[in-house]
């Protein structure tokens, strides 16, 4: 059976095909107004003749719908007295020192939030039974106000979902999507659970329409969608639980980068995807790590997401001097229009312009030579700006790169140091157009020993979709002291989750043999309100104390602990096609050298060779300073770094090469 991985980007839609162990790629222009168009076109050109094929797809439909405020008209049903939960949030404001601060938009207007008489306590005991007449009257109201989607979030439903389940059952006949919080996020903390449920209700109809159109064209049962947790789900599930695809695209990149790095012998990876306007970084420690603390568009999304941290800084970030005389880079970006100064229209210096000034971009080989960068224009604008600041233009350009690096470094610190990981143990995997220009400097300042730059960065994400396992996460909030909970009881909870997991995996068409599970416990000291995750095994208690000590420097085995949530990750393995290999060569890159450029380094101009990426052979070595250019990206090999091409065509940069 043929498999197709598809990544829909802003400019290109990338497709990776796999059949009979062979891998090949295809690229078509994206069709932003109707993203399905490009996907269908790309598939039509290669694959429709195939008897049977499956598509794994990264979709930005949910993300864009949420960020652009274009989701469905949602009604929320909640416990009476708590209709404003969504609006009050956690009471805090996003910025401290700003009189004009506002909250992120509330996705359900006041008139569409309905309270219902019922109450369950924190142990799941029913204090006030659900009032069926109330449900009836709300549902008849809903029918008359014309909503497109319904969210249900009742207090303490993680402890006892029976009331929610009854409302859900009553609402289904209305024929519109219904999202119930005990299904979407069965965990305590009502606001966060409510947000996840409402976001799901908000984006699911968009997903429904989009997937409907795709399925109509390719046939039912062939589509799988990349989730934010790094695994894929069937289109049928994605239509109902679209919130799980909110980081679909970036997740594909992380999965692809991780697979490529693992193939090259690196299990501990920090991915670094620097584009024009923003940069995504993520950390993978052996396994893909998920967080349940992510924020998207200012809203907390507690569903499991790959821990991808985004900063608003990229190649197109604008450079300016603030009133106090500090050099700032971003967060405003030149975007595609007007673009950096060197593209011919922008008037304000960007990070890309600084690289060009320093000789780290080859103006004649940008985008494979399709676009010539205007060096003179940059020279004039940079000189004028430097005069205004009272600096030498070259020093200024170096400074721009330094400040951009500082922002990137901070982003990597957030996902590594702040989460208790030492970046020195990790390999930096850089992809995205601008990443290769910063990778050496970043690795150097974080003392990371190795950088991996895979070939065909644009296709990495599509490849990631292809090799992503089917992954489903299940959880049940317990909130119980370990004193009164035996390991056997925990295993019983896990079995219940497993039953559900296996059933749903079979619905996804997976064989029982290919399914694996991992059970974990979110634990804390009694009275804490933040949890650590440990494997659900006999020695879970001592593991918790050890992890607490490792993470925070202290532990107290005498203190009572509690289990907040039992989690189960169910994974259905998929075939991992081997990556293509490149032709062997000698250590000397010889003919791949296509020219030289003068590069400004440490107060002087030095000559650096320029290599064409596609001409490099396995075994080739090049010493910094050097440039490696390819269609959509340039890598700057800093002095003191050596680049080696491995059998897959990855550029592996290490420190300590000959100077």
């Amino acid at each position: 059976m043929m498999k197709v991985g598809v990544d829909v980007g802003g400019t290109f839609t990338d497709l990776v095909f796999l059949a009979d162990g062979r891998l090949w790629t295809h690229k078509v222009l994206s069709t932003p107004v109707d993203p399905a168009g490009a996907v269908l076109q790309g598939i039509a050109q290669e694959a429709l003749a195939e008897e049977s094929y499956q598509i794994v797809h990264g979709s930005t439909v949910a993300t864009n719908g949420l960020l652009e405020g274009k989701g469905a008209r949602v009604a929320l049903i909640t416990t009476a007295g708590f209709e404003d939960l969504l609006e009050i949030g956690r009471q805090d404001r996003p910025r401290l020192y700003d009189f004009m601060v506002d909250r992120p938009p509330v996705l359900v207007p006041r008139a569409l939030r309905f309270g219902i008489r019922e109450r369950v306590d924190c142990r799941g005991r029913v204090l006030e039974p659900l009032e069926d007449d109330g449900v009836t009257s709300i549902l008849s109201d809903l029918a008359s106000v014309g909503v497109e989607s319904i969210a249900i979030c009742l207090l303490h439903c993680y402890a006892n979902p029976s009331h929610e389940a009854r409302v859900l059952k009553r609402a289904l006949p209305l024929g519109i999507p219904v999202s119930a919080s005990h299904r979407i996020l069965p965990e305590y903390r009502e606001y966060e659970r409510c947000v996840a449920t409402v976001v799901n209700a908000y984006v699911s109809p968009l997903m429904e329409r989009y997937l409907g159109r795709l399925e109509e064209a390719v046939g039912k049962g062939r589509l799988r969608i990349m989730q934010s947790n790094g695994g894929s789900i069937s289109a049928a599930v994605a239509r109902q639980e679209a919130v799980r695809t909110i980081l679909s695209g970036p997740a594909g990149g992380v999965v692809g980068a991780t697979a490529v790095a693992r193939d090259a012998g690196c299990d501990k990876v920090i991915t670094f995807d620097m584009g024009g306007t923003s940069t995504d970084v993520a950390l993978v420690d052996g396994d893909l790590r998920v967080t349940t603390e992510a924020e998207v568009g200012g809203l907390p999304l507690r569903i499991p997401l790959l821990d991808i941290h985004t900063v608003g800084s990229g190649g197109g970030s604008l450079v300016w001097i603030d009133e106090g005389g500090a050099l700032r880079v971003g967060p405003q970006s030149a975007g595609a229009d007007p673009g950096p100064v060197c593209y011919g229209r922008g008037e304000q210096i960007t990070v890309t312009d600084a690289h060009l000034t320093l000789g780290r971009l080859d103006p004649d080989r940008f985008l494979g030579g399709k676009m010539r960068l205007d060096l003179e224009r940059v020279g004039a604008v940079m000189a004028a700006f430097a005069r205004q600041v009272g600096m030498d233009p070259l020093r200024l350009a170096e400074g721009v790169v330094t400040v951009a690096n500082a922002t990137m470094e901070k982003a990597i610190r957030v996902i590594s140091v702040e989460r208790g990981h030492d970046p020195r143990e990790f390999c930096l995997v850089s992809f995205g157009g601008a990443g290769g220009l910063h990778a050496c400097a970043l690795a150097q300042s974080l003392s990371m020993p190795r950088v991996l730059i895979p070939p065909h960065a644009g296709l990495l994400s599509a490849y990631g979709m292809l090799v992503a396992d089917v992954v489903k996460d299940y959880a049940k909030t317990l909130l119980r002291s370990t004193v009164s909970t035996s390991f056997e009881e925990l295993q019983a909870v896990v079995s219940l989750l497993k039953e559900q997991g296996f059933r749903e995996m079979k619905d996804e068409g997976l064989d029982e043999e290919s399914i694996t599970t991992e059970a974990a416990l979110d634990m804390r000291y009694l009275g804490q309100s933040y949890e650590l995750r440990v494997p659900c095994e006999q020695d879970f208690l001592s593991r918790f104390h050890d992890l607490h000590r490792k993470s925070y420097g202290y532990a107290n085995p005498a203190r009572e602990t509690e289990i907040v949530t039992v989690r189960l990750r169910v994974k259905g393995g998929v075939e991992k096609p081997p990556l293509a290999t490149v032709e062997e060569g000698s250590a000397d890159p010889g003919t791949a050298c296509v020219g030289e450029r003068r590069v400004f380094l440490d107060d002087e101009w030095v000559t650096a060779p320029v290599f064409a990426r596609e001409a490099l052979r396995a075994g080739n070595r090049c010493a910094g300073p050097a440039l490696v250019v390819e269609m959509s990206a340039t890598t700057f090999l800093a002095p003191g770094w050596e680049g080696t091409v491995d059998r897959r065509g990855n550029l592996v940069l290490t420190r300590g090469g000959p100077r």
């Binding site: 009050i88 009471q91 924190c122 606001y191 106090g324 005389g325 050099l327 000291y525 009275g527």
Partner: protein, 527 residues
């Protein structure tokens, strides 16, 4: 800017120091035990240079802002500090703000330095530090009733915990286990800061690092001066009142005269009421924080919160007044209530100079609710503390936000599902108090109604304000509605004062309704 200041290094060091303070905050939040730290995030972290001048503070809680430097100063004066030491304090008259805020200060020595290169400090609000009422925020008349009082004392000596101090402290609080966990977290936060600062020194060298601490202070000073220059020169006066001190019914006046001239501002609180018997007395540190906050909001850019921001500001607070209390005045409410009113009067004064930038008054009270007693089901004592948000004042160009923390605080709520799990309490309503915002061209934000039922007999205390003197509107906008507190019993409803302490029975309901913000501009049809 000195001719040799490097704009690049300035920006790089700004990021570096800011991330140290932020990482300290992450460490504290992750390791803290109480809902107050983890869920509500009632803490702040900051770093200081070797002279005790603040270099950076993470954007946590504004009321801690201006006051942290005084804590470090008091620690430096109080105790000689050696390598591996940590000082603890909460005495409002020696570097603190109010007793529940415990501050930990640690010096950071280089490998071979004999004096500290830096200090790191963090402050966290503990749910109970002893005293006459659970939660330590009761209607006291002397500081001795408000809890255990710690002048700067050594909590950690040369890396070893001083068990004597620790045990003495824990013996004086209602929930010692939780306190112990939170203090461990505070120690972990300072350790994170220390390690990170030494990494920076190792990377950039001590001389360069020291130089940029100075440059960053000068930078923040320049930015603040620029902001002050944009205020038309002149003297602007305003006054407003706290309803009462919880002991007598006497209103308490806060008066201010802000004189702006030549890129400097003199903020003079002469004419403010003398200190009072109840706990709404603010110590000088709190007043400084409020002034600092208001001017910090006038700077449009993201600048480091450091000692430089204070240089263009002069604060005159008459000694023995409610904005500069002397011992043994009770002060728990000064930090949370009076600080908000100080902001209100400052904004009222500045609105005359900057009518297009200053918002109408926000709720002006943190509505501090404390419930404590013994939880029979769980077999342990409990102390629950919460601040309840209110309406934001309308802005010159748009409505105020509903149900949001404003000005001197930004703590989150405790999720209802977390609260009911941890305490013998049940929340019956948590909703926006519709129509409580003042009318105007732009409407003031609405307050909140939060009803909490007791499942056990307990002591209940409230420190709130803005019942009589309501949040003012501006430029013709109407005042926001005042707050209300009501005890709902099976026998009926009983209105309560804004500040009270009472014993309530299981089954009774405390209903708190917080004020709405003031409106801005004349409402249509009300000309």
């Amino acid at each position: 800017m000195t001719p040799s200041t490097d704009p690049i290094k300035l920006e790089v060091f700004k990021n570096l120091f800011a991330s140290v303070a932020e990482e300290m905050g992450v460490a504290l939040c992750r390791t803290g035990h109480s809902a107050n730290i983890k869920e509500r995030r009632d803490y702040s972290c900051a770093i200081f240079d070797g002279r005790g001048e603040m270099i950076a503070q993470a954007a946590h809680i504004p009321v801690h802002l201006g006051s942290m430097p005084l804590a470090v100063k008091a620690a430096m004066e109080g105790r000689p500090m050696s390598r591996g030491d940590t000082i603890i304090l909460n005495d409002p008259y020696r570097g603190g703000t109010h007793l529940p805020d415990l501050t930990l200060i640690s010096p950071v020595f280089g490998e071979d330095t004999s004096s500290p290169l830096f200090f790191v400090a963090n402050r966290a609000h503990h749910a109970d530090v002893g005293g006459m009422a659970p939660g330590s925020m009761g209607v006291a008349t002397e500081i001795f009733q408000e809890g255990i009082r710690l002048p700067p004392v050594t909590l950690v000596k040369g890396g070893d915990l001083n068990r004597d101090v620790f045990d003495l402290l824990l013996a004086n609080v209602r929930t010692p286990e939780e306190r112990e966990g939170d203090l461990e977290a505070q120690l972990a936060a300072n350790e994170t800061g220390r390690r990170r600062l030494l990494e920076i020194v190792a990377r950039s060298g001590a001389a360069e690092t020291r130089r940029y601490t100075e440059e960053l202070k000068a930078y923040a000073e320049r930015m603040t001066r620029e902001a002050i220059r944009r205020i038309p020169e002149g003297c602007y006066r305003f006054e407003d009142y706290l309803d009462d001190d919880g002991v007598t019914a006497e209103p308490i006046r806060i008066a201010v005269a802000v004189t702006v001239k030549g890129g400097q501002a003199v903020v003079d609180f002469s004419g403010t009421s003398p200190q009072v018997a109840g706990s709404v007395n603010a110590v000088y540190a709190v007043t400084l924080s409020a002034v600092f906050y208001v001017f910090r909001c006038l700077v449009d850019f993201d600048i480091p919160s450091n000692a430089g921001c204070m240089v263009p500001l002069t604060v005159i607070a008459p000694e023995g007044s409610v904005v500069n209390a002397r011992p043994p005045a009770a002060v728990a409410g000064g930090n949370v209530e009076t600080s908000q009113r100080i902001v209100d009067v400052l904004l009222g004064a500045l609105a005359q100079a900057l009518p297009d930038r200053i918002p109408a008054a926000s709720a002006g009270t943190m509505s501090n609710l404390v419930i404590g007693g013994t939880d029979r089901e769980r077999g342990r004592p409990f102390a629950y503390y919460e601040t309840i948000a209110g309406g934001m004042g309308a802005r010159p160009t748009r409505d105020g936000v509903d149900a949001v923390q404003t000005h001197m605080t930004n703590t989150r709520n405790t999720p209802i599902e977390a609260l009911e799990h941890a305490y013998p309490l049940r929340v019956l309503r948590y909703e926006i108090r519709r129509g409580s915002g003042g009318r105007g061209r732009h409407r003031g934000g609405d307050g909140i109604r939060r009803d909490v039922e007791l499942l056990t007999d307990a002591a209940v205390g409230l420190l709130a304000d803005r019942r009589r003197f309501r949040p003012y509107g501006l430029q013709g906008g109407e005042s926001g509605q005042g707050g209300e507190s009501i005890l709902i019993s099976p026998g009926g409803e009983r209105p309560l004062n804004s500040k009270f302490q009472l014993r309530a029975r299981a089954g009774e309901i405390i209903s708190i309704r917080t004020p709405g913000g003031g409106g801005y501009g004349r409402a249509e049809g009300h000309a």
